[in-house]
Amino acid sequence: MTEAVTTPPAPPAPVVDGENARRRGWGWLLLIPGMLWLAIFFLFPTVQLFFTSLYDPSGSFERGYAMTWHVANYADAIIDTSNLFVRSFMYAAITTFVCLLLAYPLAYAIAFKSGRWKNVMLVLVIAPFFTSFLLRTLSWRAILSDQGPVTSFLQTIAILPDDGRLLATPVAVIAGLVYNFLPFMTLPLYASLDKVDYRLIEAAGDLYSSPFTGFRTVTFPLSLPGVVSGTLLTFIPASGDYINAELLGTPKQYMIGNRIQAAFLTERNYPWPRACRSS
């Protein structure tokens, strides 16, 4: 009996794979529109961006730019903006960290404790997306304004000095970033927490883990994929954002995105921001 227990693995069951293999013959034809789309819509703009970044910066939007393989654009971009880079990185990192702290309990509650309200909660998390990014950020401007309720309240309880302000400070910019990118953190966290089998948590309890130990040894490790993807999805767009710094900060809080936007839309200096972005 002992021998029989350590059975060799069962032979492969290749039926489905085989089926796919046969169907795939003509199936790949269907990929052609998709591949074309990716080529046109993603690869082409990227290549275009790259070449534009090497144009001669002495041109102008009206006259056109000459292709001079002007690699010096990259050097200019890095020197010109090292400050901005550091600041963008810092703001994005703080934003990501605050988002993680806020989103984890939220996602945990939605995944494990919301019961029948789960879908309602998820819709509420996504709801802000149905309003324009710009408008949402502008509302923050009103909320944090010097006459606004938050500032008054903080001044009243003397956390903020009477002449202190929230708007036009790094706090305001980061608050806006956190607000705008919180769903990007919450949804991946929720997705991976929702996949955690509740029975594993019960098993940890059965094996002498207090609720906190169970969380530390089972729930959290199993949610790590969500932490990683949430961090990426928050950090990358947050570091490129310019709306929040523009509306909630001053030029002192400007991030790399503002410089790019200014160069494109105001100065119409095309090669510069693209080098900046590609570097």
């Binding site: 029975r199 098993a203 309890g205 059965d206 094996l207 002498y208």
Partner: protein, 386 residues
């Protein structure tokens, strides 16, 4: 964990698991209804019943994953009713195994000892992996193992804590028939070696009969009957037990004289006897029960059945060959079809459809049940796989 429940002392006397008047309600639904039960220390105890009968809820209350609405759960003299799961000297082998997918087999098995701060957990884990024959797989992840191997990891992960009571929640349900049979033998061997109390929840009557010392048959939140497998099978007290534990022919009869050592009943005009120790009803109507394998079919009028009960006038209406045995349906004069199983010993030729037969059985093999019960009770659930 209190001093008195330290693992390792499970062999000491007085560690019986006791449930006293335990009731569990979910809203209006009564899952477990005033259950009182003692599981002697070191025994292999099976809770057998169809799905939804409350057996899993009972197990979860012992594990601490469910709180009784009323009643107490005790191990020895200690009341553990309100102890949190992680403080109970009880471990569970879950139906789904619930192995931690991010940990290796070694870390899965070492999980309990580590949480409890056991110093030599590495040696203990290696010993346990040896016991469940998984040493070569220590560094693998659960997903890389087969179902049977995962089952043994789950078992080892629970056993390493040397719990006072090991709870098994249909641990073999996810395995195919072959593996299930092997694991039954393995589990029984380990239980005999280690001597820990096993409480095994299952809906598979054969599994319960081959493994357990004592079986409690549960139905709708209450225990219908409890006893050794042979006693339950041979002398069921309710139609539910008669049908759920194996298969039974139940015939409506008039109960006559109950005074002597044997009860005489009138079975649609033919008189048969039942031993009074196997009669669970008084005068009036009753269900006469006979197991299909206890009935001997013989060509009509040909054999002399002295001392046995005989019913005449049967006619074979269906013949089903299943290898080890042939299963007949015999239509009786009053219209009912009775099952008769005959082992294919090859001693005589099989009957054919339409053959006329007499059915005989010893009066020591019938039982008499109360007529108020549903003759179909227990049949809506997995039957004896004869």
């Amino acid at each position: 964990m209190t001093e008195s429940t330290t693992p390792g002392t499970s062999r000491a006397a007085g560690k019986d698991l006791r449930l006293e008047g335990v009731t569990k309600r979910f809203g209006d639904f009564v899952a477990v209804d005033d259950l009182t039960l003692t599981v002697p220390q070191g025994s292999f105890f099976a809770l057998l019943g169809p799905s939804g009968c409350g057996k899993t809820t009972t197990l979860r209350m012992v594990a601490g994953l469910e709180e009784p609405t009323t009643g107490r759960v005790l191990i020895g003299a200690e009341d553990i009713t309100n102890l949190r799961p992680y403080k109970r000297p009880v471990n569970t082998v879950f139906q789904s195994y619930a192995l931690f997918p991010h940990l290796t087999i070694f870390d899965n098995v070492a999980f309990g000892p580590r949480r409890r701060g056991v110093k030599d957990y590495q040696q203990k884990t290696r010993d346990m992996l040896k016991l469940v024959q998984l040493e070569p797989y220590a560094t693998r992840k659960p997903a890389q193992l087969s179902g049977g191997q995962q089952q043994r990891v789950a078992l080892g992960r629970a056993l390493i804590n040397e719990p006072g009571v090991l709870l098994l929640d249909e641990p073999l349900g996810a395995l195919d028939l072959k593996l299930r049979r092997q694991m039954q033998i393995e589990l029984k061997r380990i239980q005999t070696e280690i001597g820990i109390t096993f409480v095994h929840v299952t809906h598979d009557q054969e599994e319960a009969m081959t493994m357990a010392d004592t079986i409690a048959v549960m139905n709708a939140g209450v225990i219908e009957q409890m006893g050794a497998p042979g006693d339950l099978y041979e002398n069921p007290e309710t139609t539910f037990v008669a049908n759920f534990l194996g298969q039974s022919n139940l015939i409506m009869v008039d109960v006559g004289d109950t005074s002597g050592r044997a009860v005489v009943v009138d079975c649609h005009g033919q008189k048969v006897g039942v031993e009074s120790t196997r009669s669970h009803t008084s005068a009036g109507k009753g269900w006469l029960g006979v197991r299909p394998e206890k009935i001997f079919a013989s060509p009509a009028g040909l054999e002399n059945h002295n001392g046995s009960n005989v019913l005449t006038g049967g006619r074979i209406s269906d013949v089903s060959f299943v290898g080890v045995s042939t299963q007949y349906l015999v239509r009786m004069p009053w219209g009912q079809e009775l099952m008769v199983f005959e082992q294919n010993t090859g001693q005589r030729a099989a009957f054919k459809n339409g053959d006329e037969v007499d059915l005989a059985w010893s009066r020591a093999h019938a039982f008499l049940l109360d007529a108020d019960q549903d003759a179909q009770a227990g049949m809506m659930t997995p039957e004896a796989d004869t």
